[in-house]
């Protein structure tokens, strides 16, 4: 009998409380713009704070009350959807990813000391870090610690960011005490993997893969410019296929051919690259020899025609140069086209693309010929 009382009282209480709650939710209802909910559902919910707001919902409120739709993570697609809801223009958002401008692994970058102390970059930076190069990645992973998507791998003394996992929140950029991480357009497929502002003679001494400001790349491909003592790729997509091969220190990475992770960290991939480079050099040499021979033949013909005209080696060279440059420009056009064709299916199946890589490198090589 008693049990019934208990059940009865509890059920009664439940009904009463439920009624109260239902009533309260009606009476104390806070009117919120329904669009906030809608916008929030479209935002990526990474809650990374890159937009400057405390999480996606906060940002959704801000958008509804007139803020520009600049979600670095969601990119243009999200912006467009949100704009549709609000019926206004989407602000231009370029999708960007973070990139570590350093490939100075332990075996490539010279060490200057043994570091004892707190194992964070911020702490090691206070005593100058253990690398001879003061611009390079310290490799203690402050960036990886703040990365919300685990896109950063720390290995062999450098951090490498996977552009596929990177959502562009910039937290790593803020965390890095040496400012070696830079935001780049996601579409950019060519990078100079060095941040060293050291003068060339110093940079060369302290790191095997340092940009030594030789400017060869800037002459090869107009997408490269110098920023102080380091070259920078400024194109929005890929560059000249052969650009990585002209760099004497292998500081240029073509992401359309190699994944950053492997290019920086894998010895096998490095070796493959070296082979490609050697092959390229070989071809270049052959080409040059062919051209020189052709020129010589032409000259001889000319000389024969002029009958006894002396061939000055100096004028010879100056005459040779412009023609060579002309050849190059032709080349670049060709490979740029081939590049575009190559990169279009890249959005689809990445794995297939990876497997493709080695043969593709050869293909483009052949095309170059």
């Amino acid at each position: 009998m008693e049990i019934l009382y208990a059940v009865g009282i509890l059920s009664g209480l439940g009904v009463l409380a439920g009624a109260l709650l239902a009533y309260a939710s009606k009476v104390f209802y806070v009117k919120e713009d329904p669009r906030v909910e809608e916008v929030d559902s479209i935002l990526p919910q990474a809650n990374c704070g890159a937009c400057g707001y405390a999480g996606c919902r906060d940002f959704a409120k801000a958008i509804v009350s007139g803020e520009d739709i600049v979600c670095p993570v969601g990119g243009p697609s999200v912006a467009e959807l949100v704009a549709q809801i609000l019926g206004k223009e989407a602000a231009e958002v370029e999708e960007r990813v973070a990139f570590v401008k350093c490939a100075g692994t332990h075996d490539r970058a010279k060490k200057r000391a043994t570091y004892h102390g707190v194992k964070t970059c911020a702490a090691a930076h206070l005593v100058g870090g253990d690398k001879e190069c003061r611009y390079g990645c310290l490799g203690l992973g402050d960036c990886a610690a703040v990365c919300p998507t685990d896109a950063i791998t720390i290995s062999r003394g450098v951090a490498v960011i996977d552009p596929e996992k990177c959502i562009g929140c910039e937290l790593c950029v803020q965390a890095c005490p040496v400012n070696v991480i830079e935001m780049v357009p996601k579409s950019r497929k060519m990078h100079v993997v060095c941040n060293s502002q050291d003068p060339p003679q110093v940079a060369r001494k302290v790191c095997d893969v340092a940009c030594i400001a030789c400017k060869i790349c800037t002459r090869t491909d107009k997408n490269f410019t110098m920023e102080g003592n380091v070259a920078v790729f400024t194109g929005s997509e890929g560059g000249l296929d052969t650009a990585p091969f002209v760099c004497p220190t292998n500081a240029i990475m073509d992401e359309s051919k190699y994944r950053a992770l492997e290019f920086v960290l894998s010895d096998a991939v490095r070796e493959a690259f070296e082979q490609d480079k050697a092959a390229y050099k070989e071809r270049e040499r052959a080409e040059r020899a062919k051209r020189a021979a052709a020129r010589k033949a032409a000259q001889q013909k000319k000389a024969a025609a002029q009958a006894g005209g002396e061939a000055n080696p100096a004028t010879d060279k100056s005459a040779a140069k412009p023609s060579e440059d002309g050849d190059k420009k032709d080349d670049s056009k060709k490979s740029n086209e081939s590049n575009k064709i190559d990169s279009s299916p890249a959005d689809g199946d990445k794995k297939a693309k990876k497997e493709d890589k080695a043969p593709k490198a050869e293909d483009t090589g052949k095309e170059g010929e």
Binding site: A113, H116, V118
Partner: protein, 445 residues
């Protein structure tokens, strides 16, 4: 004789016996000098020479880039071979002038101040400014700036800092023993510029010979009118007795406020080596291109004190001290408590380099540390009355938001807390991380 002191502090092994009694020797000139262009706090200098220039000793090679800045002079005669960056004590590479010495050590003509005892303060200040004198105790703040306090901060007391509380170092000790007269004359010049009526010389009581030498000199000194009180004050041998605020507290019982400067309580503190440089600048017109450096530690064969030209590579100094012991493992510019560990001995000496310490393998702490057990030892020894464990914990967790910046920046990084921490936590490094974070924030990073 009661030795004065402050609250907190530690009593580390002082290691002064290694070099304290070694008479200062002239160091032979090296072939190459690397004169760093970052030798003071303040505006960067303007370089006056270029590659290929011939310079003479004492010649101005870089000009002060503003009022809070200091001239830099060539340490010897020779040829400028490069202006590329070289290693700096801080671990960075900074612009420097590389000079290949020609071995003749020819000097420029020096212009001493006429009758310095009666010259007006402006002339004196100008001589000090031209000579590029900076705080030689380590802070390297331009001395002519320190000696020109704003009018609303009257100075009544000048304190000479001869505490030299850093273990192992004996550079100040030697200058007090060997050049007491010059140090005091320099101090009197400073006092006159400041209009100070009291002059105290604070010396830790582990240097009785320095106290004696200074007291003898004070007795025989003809005091100018402005000085009403002058005395040598023995201080308890305790680290960090030579820290500015602690020194002022011990001698005058005045509390320098948080974020304040000694001049807020009417005091200026000047290192004894700085006083010597002031004397040299005024009486001889000689710029700061030489100073006493202690080369010491169990990692060098023959510790000693040397008159060293600024810009001499540390390797040259080590060579003079008989080279490294086989188990040398850590090279420190400055003392063991606040000095900077170096990766290489190619780093050159600077105006503020008072010592080079080489530690052996077994003296060096391992890299590991354990969690804080809240033993409160750091709180006990902190001379600034801070909770170092808390500041460090916040920095370790990245919770900079819980830190009070005024408290954090009160830390003088003396290292007492880390010295006593049984968990071997690098407390100073954590605190420096916190400071670096806020400095970065200010810069808007």
């Amino acid at each position: 004789m009661i030795s004065k002191t402050f609250r907190g502090g530690i009593h580390p092994y002082y290691g002064k016996e290694l070099a304290a009694s070694r008479e200062t020797e002239k160091l032979p000139l090296p072939d190459q000098f690397f004169v760093s262009l970052e030798q003071h706090i303040g505006a960067p200098v303007k370089l006056l020479v270029k590659k290929g220039d011939e310079v003479k000793a004492g010649q101005l090679i870089a000009e002060a880039g503003g009022f809070v800045s200091a001239n830099i002079h060539a340490p010897t005669s020779g040829k400028v071979t490069s202006t590329d960056p070289v290693d700096h004590v801080s671990g960075r590479k900074v612009p420097a002038v590389t000079i290949k010495a020609d071995g003749n050590d020819e000097w420029v003509d020096l212009e001493p101040v006429d009758s310095p005892e009666s010259a007006d303060p402006k002339t004196l200040l100008d001589a000090i400014r031209r000579a590029g004198v900076v705080g030689m105790g380590g802070a390297s703040f331009p001395t002519h700036v320190k000696l020109s306090p704003p009018d609303d901060k009257p100075i009544d007391t000048l304190i000479l800092n001869g505490a030299e509380c850093e273990p192992y170092l004996t550079a100040d000790h030697r200058i007090m023993v060997e050049k007491p007269r010059e140090v005091l004359l320099g101090a009197l010049l400073e006092a006159r510029i400041l209009g100070a009526s009291r002059l105290f010389i604070g010396v830790e009581d582990n240097k009785p010979d320095a106290i004696k030498a200074l007291e003898d000199e004070v007795e025989g000194l003809q005091l100018p009118e402005n000085i009403k009180e002058i005395s040598v004050v023995p201080l308890e041998t305790k680290y960090p007795q030579g820290s500015e605020k602690q020194l002022i507290k011990a001698i005058t019982d005045r509390n320098v406020p948080v974020k304040g400067l000694p001049m807020d309580v009417g005091v200026v503190v000047s290192n004894v080596a700085t006083c010597y440089a002031v004397w040299d600048a005024v009486y001889n017109g000689r710029p700061v291109i030489e100073r006493i450096v202690t080369v010491t530690g169990r990692g060098v064969v023959e510790p000693g004190n040397y008159w060293v030209r600024i810009g001499t590579p540390v390797s040259h100094l080590i060579e003079a001290a008989g080279g490294y012991e086989d188990d040398a493992a850590k090279l420190i510019i400055g003392g063991p408590m606040m000095g900077f560990a170096q990766g290489t001995d190619a780093v050159p000496t600077m105006k503020s380099t008072n010592g080079v310490l080489v530690q052996t393998r077994d003296e060096v702490q391992g890299p590991d540390f354990a969690p804080c057990i809240r033993c409160a030892r750091c709180v006990e020894v902190c001379p600034m009355n801070l909770p170092p464990f808390l500041l460090a914990a916040a920095a370790e967790a990245g919770r900079y938001d819980v830190l009070d910046q005024d408290v954090l920046f009160s830390c003088v990084e003396c290292g007492s807390c880390a010295y006593v921490c049984p968990s071997r936590r690098p407390l100073v490094q954590f605190i420096r991380m916190g400071k670096a974070y806020f400095r970065g924030q200010k810069k808007g990073k």
